[in-house]
Symmetry: D2
Subunit: 353 residues, 4 copies
Amino acid sequence: MSGALGKKIKVGIVGGTGYTGVELLRLLSQHPNVELTAITSRKEDGMPVAQMYPNLRGHVDLCFATPENAALDQCDVVFFATPHGVAMSQAQALLDKGVRIIDLAADFRLQDTAVFEQWYKMPHACPDILADSVYGLVELNRLKISGASVVGNPGCYPTTVILGLLPLLEGGKALVDTQHIIADCKSGVSGAGRKAEVATLFSEASDSFKAYGVAGHRHHPEIAEQLSAIAGQPVGLTFVPHLVPMIRGMFSTLYLRILPEALDTDFQALFETRYVNEAFIDVMPPGSLPETRSVRASNQLRIAVHRPSPGQLVVLVIQDNLVKGASGQAVQNMNLMFGLPETTGLEHVAVLP
Amino acid sequence: MSGALGKKIKVGIVGGTGYTGVELLRLLSQHPNVELTAITSRKEDGMPVAQMYPNLRGHVDLCFATPENAALDQCDVVFFATPHGVAMSQAQALLDKGVRIIDLAADFRLQDTAVFEQWYKMPHACPDILADSVYGLVELNRLKISGASVVGNPGCYPTTVILGLLPLLEGGKALVDTQHIIADCKSGVSGAGRKAEVATLFSEASDSFKAYGVAGHRHHPEIAEQLSAIAGQPVGLTFVPHLVPMIRGMFSTLYLRILPEALDTDFQALFETRYVNEAFIDVMPPGSLPETRSVRASNQLRIAVHRPSPGQLVVLVIQDNLVKGASGQAVQNMNLMFGLPETTGLEHVAVLP
Amino acid sequence: MSGALGKKIKVGIVGGTGYTGVELLRLLSQHPNVELTAITSRKEDGMPVAQMYPNLRGHVDLCFATPENAALDQCDVVFFATPHGVAMSQAQALLDKGVRIIDLAADFRLQDTAVFEQWYKMPHACPDILADSVYGLVELNRLKISGASVVGNPGCYPTTVILGLLPLLEGGKALVDTQHIIADCKSGVSGAGRKAEVATLFSEASDSFKAYGVAGHRHHPEIAEQLSAIAGQPVGLTFVPHLVPMIRGMFSTLYLRILPEALDTDFQALFETRYVNEAFIDVMPPGSLPETRSVRASNQLRIAVHRPSPGQLVVLVIQDNLVKGASGQAVQNMNLMFGLPETTGLEHVAVLP
Amino acid sequence: MSGALGKKIKVGIVGGTGYTGVELLRLLSQHPNVELTAITSRKEDGMPVAQMYPNLRGHVDLCFATPENAALDQCDVVFFATPHGVAMSQAQALLDKGVRIIDLAADFRLQDTAVFEQWYKMPHACPDILADSVYGLVELNRLKISGASVVGNPGCYPTTVILGLLPLLEGGKALVDTQHIIADCKSGVSGAGRKAEVATLFSEASDSFKAYGVAGHRHHPEIAEQLSAIAGQPVGLTFVPHLVPMIRGMFSTLYLRILPEALDTDFQALFETRYVNEAFIDVMPPGSLPETRSVRASNQLRIAVHRPSPGQLVVLVIQDNLVKGASGQAVQNMNLMFGLPETTGLEHVAVLP
């Protein structure tokens, strides 16, 4: 494959004006095996990318182009950093040209198209491609991803919740009450994207804290579908997302009731064992209290396992929502798909303070 | 009483250099029935209060004085905005002079002195006074407070958690599973006080989010003691506090499993009815998503009741941790103790944005 | 007049959905001599004000109404918290009904209509009314304001710069080089208003700092016009505004070269004498370093006078841009216009921390 | 030299617990030619570095050691990320062993020891070494640095002010009035270091803005000494630093009066020409408004040249105070001293948002 042979992977990005787009550019422009080939934005056609994102001055010379002019079909892989619905409308044409696809939106996250249509208010454009696509959570689906043509990059909240529960649920274990899982999740504001909206203005979101989506959030069915598949049975999940006045970072506090028959379990060891070979999962020492800044701008996800009372498990999970929760995970998927070491271009140390 | 007769209440503050101290000064200097008489700080003896807190320039002329020189015994009431242990050491002397006491620390919060000693690592200095003191949660203990000589002002987290659960637990109701209550709580940084510490530096606490005290927090036994008294039986509580990069504000997300026999309950109505006459409790309309900034610098506490699935209740509670969670609630207690309308001096509109 | 006689002033607000609007509501709802009568928003017609601004729950019962239904002509005074151009289009009709006008936009700030048209890209709709209007900087124009029918409330930056220079320039003094005045000004993000724009999103404006308007800013001609009138000759001004990642607050650093003949001047005394009777101007003691938080949510403006070298004066000025820099100053104007004590309803202590 | 030959440079860090220390660790742990050999902290002796700084988990295995046990004398170079006064006390012993020194404190910044003693309140311990040391501003002293044994890494403010003025002053040009230079500078809070102090607590420094050091700041003599040397005559400088509620980032607004004989100068071209070959200096296109976030966590310094009126020049300079303003610049110096390409290990793209 391209990567393995030393030839650079030709990469296109559709919709590079949002935060996952600029984060892809930051990571890919420093990736040793990537050649940034095309980036599209109908609205910003002709504008140098570095003019919109001055952090890229001197690093990225590309200009935005219209999808028509961007020659995406000559890429090896195209990332979609677009609103929901765009990737599925262009997927077939790219696949026909042998281009692989990594979608950072939701088009290839939910296998149940009825659920997709309920939450995203649009019919799914290509159920066949969806059926062949892989949910791009590397630690869950590594093998499938390495052979995939289309990867649905997981949502940010789902990444933390699924990875924080995976060791407890997989393999038919009876460790925790799977009917009453609580995920109290907190996200930095960049998770809302780079859209001009009153609710995420500095003067609205700063120095304040709120919950949102309590009555229902699109990531709920995504988490539930994955957890149910992992557990081999439907799980019961209460998921409440909150907005934190910080730019990047995600923190999920997971509450689980330990089953009576599992009271002797060493949960710390369970997590450590499960993730011992995972480069991007850090199971912290017992008693740890992770801070989101310890993963700022890095692809690390850290987990701390607590048991405040004998029957109660509390799992703390942190990530940078734009890296492991989006663009970093997408690059991790790309590495796998092109036979590169999984950590290539993703070994940045988190920025602290 | 002083207030009722139009005579001003002479107020002393012990330890006015911290955030609850300056907040007391802000509120009391604008209170129509209060005469600020004395404020002590051994370390800042002689310094004008307004030099340390320039927002008080033109409003407060007092200087800090040593406890010896402050003539606290000529006050009608003394607030202790001090570290734990100070109020109980001075209480008897003040009571002997007829001075009433409102302690913003923990000395008069826990009736069980063994629990107090376990969590605060000091013996209780005056169990007799403690036994006569009242837990200063007005909405729970209004009558007792109005006749009290010593009031233990509630902790900030307990205020939100108790008021968010009170309608569910009181009166022997069987509505929710009281053995598995989860309180996921988030506080602004001012809750940590005005101590020179690395962990709460701007460069440490800004643009980040973390949990703390997962293994145990002093507010846990306080909440548990009150909830158990309210429910008439021990409750099971998991309490995880988190630190939010904002100055003021507290947000508690409470998760409760509804009992099968209570599935028909109208929880919205239950809360509205319980708090209909409470000036400082705002039960918001169904579906509301409260933001902490909507109570910034005010004594309001707002509650939103959600039921994301039939068996699951989620109660959202917000307050300003320095006002309803500390100094405002203390003034509310003072109003009651001196026969004033409860809202006197506490009707400030929250500052938004 | 209404206020003086104890009858409440009937107040209308046009365009109450922005930050100066909600701040007017906060101040006026607590003002003892005001009856909030009408608030307009074409877009939010029928919505309770407290639904958009939950801090007003329990304090303001009004609903937004269309201008047609709002009965503004039955008000004693109408505040315009609107985009530039609205007040001048409605002024004549209101004046005909005897309604006084306070415009928080720029329609009545610049006496030179050519300059107005150059900077605001619209012809002035009522030059006659403009000629009769008063620039509402109380400390400069107190007498005129008390008799005015139309007041142009000053811009936020101009308030700090003019008040920071007034004692140096007025009365034909030859103290500083008026041809090379430098105003390096910094504003919190709320100054940009409550518009959905990418540039003021939390994820754009937080944890960053920038200058803007270096090539030209609308407040430059406003400042220059006022300073030139005060000095009795054209002044030379370099004005660079900057954006600070905070919600409220404005800080202006003014640099002045002291003229050789003025080297013996006691500038501290000059400022103290000039402002000794001003309730809202606090000339701080020598050496003071004001912080914007010391005026947060209050109508105070604080000044510190520094002289780092014999020939160089540095004047530091702070205010809350939404209060003294906008809505508070507007209420101060209203008090004057209706014969009330100037400080009525404006004595809130600043919120710190 | 080590680097050039492919052998790794053995690096020691004295005092690695502060922000410049952890930033050195972040940069050096990703530097391809560096072997981190020793890091000292008397207070944290034995603690893994990654325990104090969890962003380094998986990247740095070192433990803090006492200076005695750290074998600093076997390093090729030692960085001092210590309080002022430490480097000069240990310099001779290290030099005797052939170890080169880069001091991030002020010990080797000021050639005039009298000035040093006046501002740092201690006698200089090694004037001879000082005389041989080089001021580590690469763009000014590249050649000298490459042969230096001791480098005094510039202060953060001086880096921006000197580089923002260098093209105007060097070479005996008569372009601007050098007697009245104004530098209005703004820094993120991390510049104050990781010391437990009330003034830099989150609840003190957040959502506020202030000036400090108006009466005198240690960076003033450092800037003045360098500028005077560059200009070949004493310069007159007014320097006012301000504190911005952000973690990283520095913004300097420089005001210069253009001399009558220089009114025809193309200042944009002057800057572009001067810095055309500098990898870390980005002279932005005319009209640019740099934001500090565009250099966050990178070694870039960006300059924008403005001329708001014919006689007035305004130069805007941004950097990350911990990178180009401290640790990044120190690594840049190390690269030069060891014959490596200057950009080695410093090509990180800035993190935005």
